[in-house]
């Protein structure tokens, strides 16, 4: 494909966090000393070559620099170090309908937005009907945008962005907004762009989406590229990272004189390696390690598997666990045959006093594991029939 569509080499982005910064000339004159600023590198040494036609999923914990990277690549933020080159028209779905003016009609906004995205008036004329049809706004296109519902607003923004025939599409979690049918439409459009050879880079928190849609996964953590390659591995890598990251931060913050959660691992008992993806009837094993001060009384571990909206699917409780010589204890929860679940599930863990049930430490691991199947069909896979009867 020749030169890559997106090429970033040694890219760094530094933000200055000002404590007392003059924001007006008046303050600038009154504040004699220069303001102190703390440096914060949101991105560090990022090398990324994306060939034309690739679909890349960009994942990472919150605050890892994903959105900053998209902004740097799309030319909204200037990199503090390194170089970015981009070949082709970029449409960034960072915020749908950014730049719409409420006073103008939908039609006027389409022309304005398209002009900003680099289209000529004649090109916009050509795409106009498609845009309106895609947004399903034919009867409202000459209304002022301020009277649109938020759904109509987002649909129009998306329609413009995807109809400007971009070479490169940057998507930042826009799939999280909108209703289900809109999300389906977005995914279908992404599919179409892939067929057309468009380069797509998107940020998502939905880890099961990455292997499904992407040919490559990039994991960012603290502004650095941690993994760049196979999307399945990328998602796994992030899952394990989220587990340990929780452990480190939580451990440091906890008071040392109380028993606390030290580690949680979902693993495959035969290989002892991390396992985050399950099918119905598979074996699930979860190790929970607890640490406490010397001489601490036995503790109980309570583990709740929660589904959408944090509804507990089932709850598991250990017997009282005496802490060993190192002040630690490990309990292994085993589910022999996993029920036929569908979707992404979280684990809520609590370490508590077995008698009084007072909680010493509790943590929630979001997106702890994925169970196969389409969650739109319900979280539980149930064998059922529907027959017409005469009664």
């Amino acid at each position: 494909m020749g030169e890559p569509a997106i090429s970033a080499s040694g890219v760094g982005k530094r933000f200055l966090v000002h404590h007392k910064r003059a924001t007006s000339l008046k303050e600038r004159l009154l504040l004699h000393r220069r303001s102190e600023a703390e440096e914060f590198w949101a991105l560090r040494d990022v090398d990324l070559q994306i060939a034309g036609g690739q679909t890349v999923g960009l994942i990472g914990p919150n605050g890892s620099g994903k959105s900053t990277l998209l902004k740097v690549l799309s030319g909204i933020l200037a990199p503090s170090a390194g170089q970015v080159t981009v070949r082709g028209r970029i449409a960034s779905l960072l915020e749908l309908g950014a730049g719409f003016n409420g006073e103008l009609t939908g039609r006027e906004n389409v022309y304005l937005n398209a002009a900003i995205l680099g289209l000529s008036r004649r090109e916009t004329d050509r795409y106009f009907d498609d845009i309106v049809a895609f947004a399903e706004l034919e009867p409202f296109i000459d209304n002022q945008v301020k009277h649109y519902s938020s759904g109509q607003y987002v649909r129009l923004g998306f329609a413009v962005a995807v109809h400007v025939s971009p070479d490169i599409l940057l998507i930042d979690e826009v799939l999280a907004v909108g209703d289900e049918s809109f999300q389906q439409k977005c995914l279908a459009k992404i599919d179409e762009f892939q067929q057309l050879g468009c380069t797509i880079l998107f940020v998502t928190h939905s880890l099961d989406l990455v292997p499904r849609v992407c040919s490559r996964g990039v994991v960012l953590d603290h502004g650095r590229v941690l993994h760049d390659g196979d999307p399945v591995e990328a998602a796994e890598r992030l899952r394990s990272l989220l587990g340990t990251a929780h452990d480190q931060s939580g451990g440091a913050a906890m008071a040392a004189d109380r028993p606390r959660l030290a580690d949680l691992r979902l693993f495959d008992p035969t290989t002892r390696s991390h396992k985050g993806h399950y099918r119905a009837n598979e074996l699930m094993a979860i190790d929970v390690e607890v640490a406490g001060p010397d001489g601490a009384a036995p503790v109980q571990v309570r583990l709740a598997v929660t589904g959408p909206a944090d509804v507990p699917m089932w709850v598991m409780e250990s017997d009282p666990l005496p802490l060993g010589p190192g002040g630690t204890a490990t309990v292994c929860f085993t589910v022999k045959e996993l029920p036929p679940l569908r979707g992404i599930f979280a684990l809520a863990v609590a370490v508590r006093d077995p008698a009084t049930k007072v909680t010493y430490d509790a943590r929630r691991f979001g997106e702890a594991f994925v169970a196969d199947g389409d969650p739109a069909q319900g979280v539980l896979e149930v064998a059922w029939t529907a027959e017409q009867v005469d009664r």
Partner: protein, 288 residues
């Protein structure tokens, strides 16, 4: 494949280059937003200078009795171009801050924002000038002659100067939000220091009488003074009235000289404005 890539490069360039169509679209947006909910629409932009004309004519010819023949013509020939400069500068000041949601979310050449403010002011000016010329055609035929050619260099300098001010102010206003308020005061002082409601000869005669003729040169070094006097020479055809000069000179040399000075100042400011804008624009998305 090479062709495909160069087409992609062209599309990439279209997103970072200043395009007339984008500018036109932004100017159209500003005009629509401004006049959308007003019944009289664009008539307002004509009513404003007429109101000023009525008030200043009343004050200066009736109350202060300045004895200048056809004062409304003298006033309007300077006032309209001042209005253009003033509007371009002030709307340019808020152009980047006012489009924060665009600047933070979309890739496009930021410099089109202050430029579109100049375009916005320019559309008003062209319409107002059209109406003025139509009125002069009816009431003041003397205005039409070869001296009208002076309009070309004078307006060129006015456009460059306004662009420079819009660039400077828009970029600085992102960093220091009180630039807007400061400018309002500066522009008010600037207005009275420019020979719009009084003839430049009033200043010249007073400083000459005091023996400080050099101060008149200082006064004329104000680029807007050069622009305004040239426009007055182009439209106002009473250089001498009642035995005293209204305009500083009958020929063109004086005006062309000071237009040259104004042009040089405007170009220097434009260079400074572009430099500062380029330097600061990398941080716009963060500062907003």
């Amino acid at each position: 494949m090479v062709e495909l890539q160069s087409a992609a490069d062209a599309r990439a360039a279209a997103q970072s280059r200043i395009r007339w169509e984008l500018l036109a679209e932004l100017v159209r947006k500003d005009l629509k937003v401004k006049y959308k909910n007003s019944a009289l629409g664009f008539v307002w932009s004509l009513a404003n200078p007429l109101l000023y004309l009525a008030v200043f004519t009343l004050v200066f010819t009736k109350i202060l009795n300045n004895g200048i023949p056809a004062f409304p013509v003298l006033f309007m020939s300077g006032f309209l171009v001042w209005n253009f400069f003033n509007l371009a500068t002030l709307s340019g000041t808020g152009s980047v801050v006012g489009n924060a949601n665009l600047v933070r979310k979309v890739r496009f050449p930021r410099v089109v924002l202050p430029l579109s403010s100049v375009g916005f002011a320019g559309v008003h000016f062209v319409l107002q000038l059209g109406v003025l010329l139509a009125l002069l055609l009816v009431f003041y035929r003397d205005a039409f002659g070869t001296q009208l050619v002076l309009l070309v260099p004078a307006l060129a300098v006015a456009v460059v100067l306004s662009t420079a001010m819009a660039l400077l102010a828009s970029a600085l206003n992102v960093r220091f939000r009180d630039v807007e308020h400061l400018l309002e005061v500066i522009l008010l002082a600037w207005f009275w220091l420019t020979p719009i409601v009084y003839p430049a000869t009033l200043v010249r005669d007073q400083v000459v009488a005091r023996g400080t003729a050099w101060m008149f040169d200082l006064y004329m070094a104000n680029p807007m003074a050069g622009v305004v006097t040239a426009l007055q020479r182009a439209l106002y055809n009473h250089p001498v009235a009642g035995g005293r000069d209204v305009l500083p000179a009958g020929g063109y040399g004086f005006y062309l000289t000071w237009l040259g000075v104004a042009g040089a100042v405007a170009l220097a400011l434009l260079a400074a404005g572009l430099w500062i804008f380029r330097r600061l624009q990398a941080d716009f998305a963060e500062e907003l």
